[in-house]
């Protein structure tokens, strides 16, 4: 049985195509997903992300508990700031990628993916046993609404007295938005400026409607998971289950910088990750642009001279480049040699390796 967010009725009234995502009925698109994608690049898009998990870690040793449980140095985080980090197993395999917000000296909010948050909450609780810290999964109480795109500050600014100019990228502050108590974070998954608003479930529909009204003259449109996926792909952001998983370490994914060996104390996965950091990875995560118009998709083999040398993890037609783009794991020697193709349903289609991200916004 699929779960619904507090905004399901709104999506249905907007004529959304709903899809099952990690056990949730979520909007895939409302009309044209390309139009939604372009609206976020040029104006703004409104997203329901209430399927994400919010886990609160509180107490005098909350920071130390997170330092032990995660790969990052969270106790060093300034209150009001956020950090992209990961939770790994003893072998260094990625259990989830996370954004951790420090709400106060003794209060952190860990935002986890829909498919993983129950497991993450369990792991955090198990790993915090020796610390004076409390782990509480409040995912069921919170809705998450994101407004993303170059006009998003203007739209949100009309509904709150909060100092949005002073709110930096990867920062968070509590505020009143359209009469509702919210946590406003300047974070996102689109490659654009934007905000993520954490509110109580009961406030989700009025907040959505207020943002929708405030943005209607400025080009804001509701945007579904299809646009979210192509936006994050163009921005070169990894997706758990595609680029990241228990079989990959942060170093495999080219994200070794999130592992902080310099922090005090031991952390779960340290020994395995120290080894991974020393060894030359056998495969690399690379960006690919197709020369033709057929799209390399998740799971398609990357080939070279007829031999399989890797696998596509994500692929889609890129609105911004006008060509299909993909992210793939490719054997390091093959990536260096070039001349790659992707096996698209039996035909070897040429692709070129490019630096990620595919798209970078102009500030």
């Amino acid at each position: 049985m699929s779960r619904s967010t507090p905004l399901r009725g709104v999506h249905e009234s907007l004529g959304a195509t709903l899809t099952d995502f990690a056990g949730w009925q979520m909007p895939l698109r409302y009309g044209s997903e390309s139009a939604e994608h372009n609206a976020v690049r040029t104006a703004a898009g409104l997203f329901d992300l209430s399927h994400m998990g919010e886990i609160f870690v509180t107490g005098p040793q909350a920071g130390e508990a997170l330092d032990h449980a995660l790969v990052g140095h969270l106790s060093a985080l300034t209150p009001g700031r956020a950090r992209y980090t990961m939770i790994v197993d003893e072998e260094g395999g990625i259990l989830d990628d996370l954004i951790v917000y420090r709400l106060g000296d003794e209060e952190f909010m860990v935002v986890a993916n829909a498919s993983n948050y129950a497991a993450v909450a369990g792991e955090l609780a198990a790993r915090s046993g020796a610390y004076d810290a409390r782990v509480e999964d409040r995912s069921d109480a919170y809705a998450l609404v994101a407004v993303q795109g170059p006009r998003s500050a203007e739209i949100l600014g009309s509904l709150t007295d909060a100092d949005l100019d002073g709110l930096k990228y990867y920062a968070i502050l509590p505020a009143t938005v359209a009469g509702a108590q919210a946590l406003i974070a300047r974070t996102g998954y689109t490659g654009e400026d934007g905000f993520e608003l954490f509110v109580r479930n009961d406030d989700a529909v009025p907040l959505w409607n207020a943002l929708s009204d405030a943005g209607s003259e400025l080009g804001l449109v509701p945007a579904g998971l299809s646009a979210r996926d192509t936006l994050r792909l163009e921005a070169g952001m990894p997706l758990y289950g595609n680029e990241l998983g228990a079989g990959t370490t942060p170093f495999d994914a080219g994200l070794g910088r999130v592992v902080r060996f310099d922090k005090p104390g031991d952390f779960v996965g340290r020994a395995a990750l120290a080894q991974a950091a020393e060894s030359e990875p056998a495969r690399r995560l690379v960006g690919l642009v197709a020369r033709g118009r057929r799209v390399p998709r998740h799971g398609y083999p990357v080939t070279r001279d007829g031999e399989v040398v890797g696998e596509v993890t994500s692929g889609a037609p890129s609105q911004s480049l006008g060509k299909p783009v993909a992210i793939a794991y490719v054997a390091a020697d093959a990536a260096d040699a070039g001349g790659l193709t992707v096996d698209i349903r039996g035909s070897q289609e040429p692709v070129d390796i490019v630096d990620l991200p595919f798209y970078r916004r102009t500030k």
């Binding site: 997903e33 192509t230 799209v295």
Partner: protein, 129 residues
């Protein structure tokens, strides 16, 4: 509810067939229902003019942001014309699936007996949506 013109015939694979009555050549495209299910179409591959196809053969593909679907020949025969405009601008499949978004024309050599009427196709899509 997407439109299902009465005068066309349909396949279970969500193609439409026009011109069956004259018994010579038919025009083939994908239905409005299929276009809606696919989302924005970004790439269309049509069969080669002059090639001979059997009913049920996979002869092309329609690719959207999220997925790709084969196009099957609804009738057997020779491909006599393909729509260059839809290859250039695949969004025609979304904007005008029964008109400018047509895909190819076949000179019929083998007429199948399992094409659906508009009413039958309507019942099929009602069950799938």
């Amino acid at each position: 509810m997407s439109s299902i013109p009465d005068e066309l015939s349909y396949t279970k694979e969500h193609e439409w067939v026009a011109g069956l009555d004259d018994g010579l050549t038919v025009t083939v495209g994908v239905t409005a229902f299929a276009a809606e299910q696919l989302g924005d179409v970004v790439y269309v591959q049509v069969p080669e003019v002059g090639s001979t196809v059997a009913a049920g053969d996979a002869v092309g593909e329609v690719e959207s942001t999220k997925s790709v679907s084969d196009i099957f020949a609804p009738v057997g025969g020779e491909i006599v014309e393909t729509n260059a405009a839809v290859v250039d601008d695949p969004s025609l499949v979304n904007s005008d699936p029964y008109g400018e978004g047509w895909l190819f024309r076949v000179r019929i050599e083998e007429e199948p007996d399992d094409l659906l009427s508009a009413a039958e196709y309507g019942a099929l899509t009602a069950a799938e949506s």
